[in-house]
Symmetry: C2
Subunit: 334 residues, 2 copies
């Protein structure tokens, strides 16, 4: 029996299969194969990763040990990068014991020692290219690589995330700033050695055709959100949280998609054909030009896709209004 | 073998058992027994609800059908209120079939019909007392109650949530506004009948000693957050997300508690002994006066407790640094 979009209980995380397919094709045409290391944190969903892999991308980026271990358990362990630091011996050991080639980011003597002591065999030197987060300063990258090699780690290269530049509105200004940040990464790479220069995200994905970066860590491109949607990128909105109108008053309506179903760090979501007033735990209050009725479906577009995915147990893959698959968001947690 | 707080993998949701116990005792002294209908949405955790029940509160407020069904399955179905509207026949039926006395909020002919058609036997008329969300306007409450009774529903009374007043900074101004809102609810109650007048939350809990409200729906009081912490309430911060410092640079440190571990709709969390710069998916970047080291633990205080709880699989109950229990956050989802 065919299940229709309107049969789903709400709030329901829904992926538009056609838009999703087009997004994957667009990215693969710019960054084929290993030029893209898709970031699993954007979706935390192994069936979605498998679709990326079917497009030719066999190496993946992860933000948490659970993402690494889960990708390995799903048979996608060819080349997994934990693009993040950890000193947790239990989780480092779990990654080392996974059926996978695992590389971790390191940016300090402590993270090098913890990785080597718990069975990890390969690392990238994480370099600060301007975002005040993890990453060693470029002038200390070479020394850290030497230290990592002394502990027996294979230093495969460098990574540096220019997250502070994803939303620079003007494209030429963004390009100039990305090139300056990647010059820092290239200088560190000259001191570090190794084959990998890994960086980038959805907001800068095509700017790396002109840098020394040889793999891009984009993730949000597959599903998109309103925040990236304002950037003029060639990707379509492919994920929605479908809600049901549960209350209708004189000037507003209320649907059952609240802030527990939406990443809120980038602000309120959008409602298709409506204007959002505010979100509560389990509600979105919005106004519309037209009359909406209790029981009617509404499409809510998240402002930030990554945390939105992490709030749902599963996503429903939909084509022409019919549900064609249920994808568990199986890499949630840590 | 005793498990210490420092043995937990991070991010770890941790409840300070002593502070939690004191919060429950403080609330029970103001609103004993059925005067408090604790709101399950604030924690989504049946062991925590069981602790509230052990303090004498046997009726509970829920925001989702899953909370209702889960509370019933845990043997706490004496008197469960879904303080929210739904027209979902599957979920209404699941609540009706639960081993519980279930009452649902209704604010329209559609929600009345859906409840009655799917086995629900009791309702409260949800009245708009000023927050633009669910709730019928007070002058239409009596007619809706008549309609509900015609369908066979037992109309137990009224509810009205003054959520827009929780954060009015001045206490006397807050009291005046709450009294005005509750006058609307009292007028609706006169038209509706029934025994229950249900309202309130943590921010207004003690103001209802002077209104006609006979049960208060507070939830956040048990664990608290920085948002309510600024209100001068007699409750202590009892929940933290414990993180590990994974990177230390010249002017800042980074811990592994990001926005996927924190409700962000009220803004950034706080870090004990630190100043938060920003959160990323899996990181909080912060500055400190003192030197922190990679591997050190930090305590992060969420800005909004309800969505924070919903992001974690379990909470660790801690007393004097020792882990004394693991409480699953078992009512997540919808």
């Amino acid at each position: 029996v065919a299940v229709h979009l309107d049969d789903l209980s709400t709030p329901a995380l829904v992926i538009d299969a056609d838009a999703f397919d087009r997004n994957l094709a667009t990215m693969a045409s710019v960054h084929p194969g290993a030029r893209l290391r898709p970031h699993v944190k954007a979706h935390k969903c192994t069936p979605l990763a498998a679709a990326q892999r079917a497009m030719g991308h066999q190496s993946f980026t992860c933000a948490t040990p659970r993402e690494v271990v889960g990708m390995a358990a799903s048979g996608m362990g060819d080349d997994l990068l934990l693009a993040n630091e950890t000193v947790d011996p239990v989780r480092l050991r779990a990654m080392a014991d996974a059926d996978a080639m695992v590389t971790v980011a390191v940016d300090s003597a402590e993270t090098v020692r913890a990785a080597a002591a718990n069975g990890i065999t390969a690392c990238l030197i994480d370099v600060n290219v301007g975002l005040p987060r993890c990453g060693v300063s470029p002038d200390r990258a070479g020394a850290l690589a030497d230290e990592a090699r002394r502990t027996g780690l294979d230093v495969r290269g460098v990574m540096g995330y220019e997250g502070h530049l994803m939303m620079v509105p003007d494209r030429s200004e963004r390009l100039a700033q990305v090139e300056a940040a990647m010059a820092l990464l290239a200088a560190a790479h000259a001191d570090v050695g190794g084959e990998i220069v890994s960086a980038g995200g959805t907001g800068t994905f095509d700017l790396h055709q002109r840098t020394s970066v040889n793999e891009v860590q984009a993730g949000s491109y597959a599903l998109m959100d309103t925040h990236y949607g304002r950037q003029g990128l060639p990707f379509e909105q492919a994920v929605f949280v479908v809600g049901t109108v549960i209350s209708r008053q004189d000037d507003w309506a209320v649907a059952d998609v609240g802030l527990k179903a939406l990443g809120m760090d980038h602000g309120n979501p959008s409602v298709v054909d409506g204007t959002v007033w505010f979100c509560s735990d389990e509600h979105v209050t919005f106004a519309t030009e037209r009359t909406v009725h209790v029981g009617e479906r509404v499409m809510v577009v998240p402002a930030h896709v990554d945390p939105t995915m992490a709030m749902h147990e599963a996503a429903w893959l939909v084509r022409d209004g019919e549900v064609i698959d249920r994808w568990p968001i199986d890499l949630r947690g840590w």
